[in-house]
Symmetry: C2
Subunit: 625 residues, 2 copies
């Protein structure tokens, strides 16, 4: 790639950026678009569709929203969106900081040092645009030159700064996590654990087994339980009923709405509206009868899963049952933390053990194949950055490719566009894979999808590119890995506040993923530095870089010991303190009475399809994460 191609790419991106910024600034002010740009406010009743008065200001782009977007403090964010949103913002800011440090060192120190090297050719300041980018890379520093020590120092400096930032962030987020827990009102999942592998002996039900076991071994803390049931059939019936209800509501509302009257007359040519309504009503009644039969006790007994949500009187009681192996047979009475009730992925419980096992295996294989197949678009991109190769492969293109602008667009902008186009298909696929993998919580599914994406990205963008590329692309990597975390952060707060409604709250459990991938990136950078110093015939620097990964791994180990346990479970100190605070709270008993009901499968709740359903009011409301 040559410099002018890079500049073309920068120019195109900048122009697109300004265009989208203007469009957003104008469109968000249009009264009719409020449901698109602030669905959460509409859903919460904080904003309404304004009347249609015309206003010239609405058509002029204004940047005021940018300032407002950065205004909400961390506490505002915490109050309205929970800790996950705060952690998300911290990840974003952390990435910016890392990028700034690496950028400053790269642009103001390393690039000048590289450019003043003379390994590749003599300096000709007049014709910079047509020079290869390699001139700005470490390739241009003379082998064995003392200038390489600048790069050496940069590797140490960047590692030190990133580790410091990681430490500060990990400490801050783990303290926030504990404070958030301490400040939270009693939550059902604080008092509940999920128990699996419940041995139900012949005759007795799973429920009886749970009741007997916990009154025997946890008499003072055990409260109640809900047995999990296989509800796939119920779910299917409910989806049918819902679809039918929607169609019925649509049909019924038609004669009254004037807009549709003309069309309704058109349909009326084929069938009487009344007939249809009667037919659908009958079908819906049948379905609802079926549903009630399926929801009855006798049917439910048949589909018991040997798992139950068990509730305790105190947080410490739940923790004791969670952390101590319960049964003599470790595959029975297996305890794990219960997710938040809204975070549970109920369909999972319907799959049999064998189904889960097979689908897990299939998912691994499929993810692997997807990662490998993706080398195809990467190869195309590689070909585009290399015009000569392209001309050899497609001889008719020679003429076109010789036009300067075309060649610059092709080598500079097109490759990244194509790559991003292909990349955009991957996250939904990875999420689908994770859904099939058998997690019981939506947050776990998304965390797993996130991890899959990370490894996919690392493999494809870094390894595949590096192994196939020149030393120049190798050098890009040298500065690139540190931006991985920024791939996780692509939103600004205004959006979090106005658009997203948190679906669950993990209490910042996403942070360790960022920490781990940053450490991985550092090690990768150090390994590449080691390789480059060897290639550049500066063996002393190669050897002296070796302590760096060792130190980085020791630092990582310390962080894992010091902070990570807080992300897995809350300490006894915190739990007991909160339990004692609650002892004097008269409302706790009321709360405890209701806890068990929050863990009932929504499919088992009685439904009345003539009631209004809130979800339909806000079809555009997105969910965070």
């Amino acid at each position: 790639m040559i410099v002018s191609a890079l500049l073309t790419s920068v120019g195109i991106n900048l122009a697109l950026c300004i265009l989208f910024f203007t469009l957003y600034s104008v469109l968000r002010k249009q009264p009719g678009n409020i449901e698109v740009y602030a669905p959460r406010l509409v859903a919460e009743g904080k904003a309404r569709r304004r009347g249609g008065e015309f206003n010239i200001e609405d058509l002029l782009p204004s940047p005021g929203w940018v300032q407002r977007a950065w205004q909400p403090s961390e506490d505002d964010l915490l109050a309205s969106c929970g800790l996950d949103a705060v952690v998300f913002m911290r990840i974003f800011i952390f990435s910016l900081r890392v990028f700034t440090v690496a950028g400053i060192i790269g642009v103001f120190v390393l690039v000048p040092v590289n450019y003043l090297g003379d390994q590749l050719s003599d300096i000709d300041f007049a014709d910079i645009p047509s020079k290869s980018l390699d001139l700005f890379s470490i390739s241009n520093v003379k082998d064995g030159s003392n200038r390489l020590w600048v790069h050496f120092s940069a590797a140490y400096l960047i590692s030190a700064v990133v580790c410091y930032l990681l430490y500060a962030e990990f400490k801050y987020i783990s303290l926030k996590r504990l404070a958030y827990y301490s400040a939270s009102s009693p939550q059902p999942h604080h008092f509940t654990i999920l128990v699996r592998g419940i041995p139900a002996h012949d005759g007795s039900s799973v429920g009886d087994a749970v009741e007997n076991f916990f009154t025997e071994y946890h008499p003072s803390t055990y409260l109640s339980h809900v047995v999990v049931r296989r509800t796939r059939k119920l779910r299917d019936l409910m989806t049918d009923a819902e679809n039918l209800y929607k169609r019925l509501a649509h049909l019924k509302s038609r004669p009254h709405t004037s807009e549709h009257s003309r069309r309704s007359g058109f349909i009326g040519m084929f069938r009487q509206n009344g007939d249809l309504v009667r037919q659908y009503s009958k079908k819906l009644e049948d379905l609802e009868t079926n549903l009630r039969i399926e929801q009855s006790d006798a049917s439910l007994r048949r589909v018991e899963v040997p798992a139950a949500f068990v509730c305790f009187r105190s947080r410490y009681g739940a923790a004791a049952a969670l952390h101590i192996q319960q049964s003599v047979n470790p595959t029975q009475w297996v305890t794990e933390q219960a997710p938040e009730p809204r975070d549970i992925y109920w369909p999972f419980f319907s799959a049999s053990f064998m189904q889960r096992w097979v689908s897990k295996l299939v998912v691994y294989v499929a993810s692997f194949i997807l990662t490998i197949i993706f080398l195809l678009p990467v190869a195309i991109v590689q070909a585009l950055t290399n015009l000569d190769q392209l001309e050899t492969m497609f001889p008719p293109l020679v003429g076109i490719l010789e036009i300067t602008v075309v060649s610059q667009v092709i080598t500079g902008y097109l490759p990244s566009l194509i790559l991003h186009l292909f990349l955009s298909f991957v996250p939904p696929i990875m999420k689908l894979f994770s859904t099939m993998q058998g997690f019981i919580a939506l947050s776990e599914i998304e965390k797993s999808a996130c991890n899959k994406m990370l490894w996919f990205t690392i493999w494809n963008i870094f390894f595949a590119n590096v192994l196939a590329g020149s030393i120049s692309s190798r050098l890009e990597i040298f500065y690139d890995p540190k931006t991985i975390p920024s791939k996780l952060a692509v939103l600004v707060p205004a959006q979090l506040l106005n658009v997203y409604m948190p679906k669950y709250e993990t209490g910042g459990k996403f942070w360790p993923i960022v920490h781990n991938s940053t450490i991985f990136s550092l090690i990768l950078m150090q390994a590449i530095a080691f390789g480059i110093f060897s290639l550049k015939k500066l063996p002393v620097a190669s050897s002296l870089i070796l302590p760096l990964p060792v130190l980085t791994l020791l630092f990582n180990d310390y962080c894992r010991k010091r902070f990570l346990p807080v992300f897995h479970a809350y300490p006894a100190e915190t739990l007991i303190k909160k339990d004692r605070e609650d002892q004097n709270d008269p409302s706790l008993n009321e709360f405890l009475d209701g806890v068990v009901n929050t863990y009932r499968d929504p499919a088992l709740m009685p439904r009345n399809h003539s009631q209004d359903r809130q979800e339909w009011n806000s079809p555009l409301l997105s969910h965070a994460y």
Copy 2:
């Protein structure tokens, strides 16, 4: 190696075996040797030195002891030596079973199949002794021959049998472990945990911090505690005092023993015995005064370590404190299982954190270097099995090496003798390394040394040999890895009962090491089988062997889930049941009063050197493990 060399080796070993068996049979019957062959019985007062009457039968070898050695049942062993001895015997029997199965398949199926192959040369039944052993190996089976499927089936069969044996053994031992715990009388380590990283704030002592923390968060179960102290100085003083006391006792006893009177007269020429006694007594008194000063409270306060043994009123109380993270800062109030009092390695507590960290690193590096350096004797052995190489290296030897017997001894017997000679130096070194590594329990030290030895053996005997050897040695490996467990078992029970006195009881925690190394050996065997089938041009067999390691690893995973947790901690069910049994036992309170004293550092116990010390009575008493 040729067949006759192998036979020479077998012959020499057999002859030595018979010689040692005869010597043992005769020597053990000599009345004077009872302290050598049954020191435990002497120490426990169950056997005494018999009078010196002459008996002709004492000089004839008799094999009766072999039968008696196998007589004690598992229950006898359990009662007199604890569960570890039983597990040890089970490991021995397990190894024998594996070896028998592999041996039968190898000798009666695979060796004939190999010998009837014709890859290497035509069969000449007349001259078997001078044939190379390769003729009996898979090298002799024709490439791509269908006979290789016999080997293929053997790989599957052996894997299945070994996995079945492992499963049965793991299940048996884990049930035994639980039963042993259930049947045991209250033991101090059931009620005690070790707490480290105790934050002592300015002014207050570690003891106060422990008292405050546990009365605050575990008021109903907390019993008492002992703070650990640095006792290196005390230990040194005590060693000096003991040595001095021994010399004094020796001096004092001299005038009364008639045997020594002549010598004592000889020494008397240089110095009066009385003078020496007075001088030593004075020194001993000074030392004991120093000891008492060091043992006083004021001095002890100075050397407090931020660690304590904390005792609880119930087993479940101890487990709750053990399994739940206690402090908001995970590096403070770190809990772990307390070892048995007799199992504690006290000197460890004297080392500072930095010392421990550095010595751990040094140990890793040293173990690595030892493993590498050991390639030298392995290389020598390699050279010996290859006579031609030896003749090239040392031309003067040519004449000697051409004598048949010499060459057969050199290629058949000498290599393994040299290797075993060098190998015998390794275990003490590895144990020394493990001692430096910072374990708080002797059992942990020995487990770690055991693991080091295993990896050392695997690396040196298998990899180094295989990588340097021919396909024949590769094939030996094919049948060899399964014997690793037998390397762990080198004793017979009679010895356990008469010679060894258990120093600690891990409740069979050694078994998982055997399980893991057996699984590793199976995978190694399967990998080698894969390689051999590829080399032998039977790609279908190569591919069809691939499910085998996958199945083996899945089996291993299942075993780890199903049985391993029981080896880490006892389940709530067991703990609570035992606690309830004890509730009605009036002697429990008495026991609990004494628990904390069992965890006092022996260096802090008041000593009186004029008392008899039991250890000196049984200098030959070995300790098991």
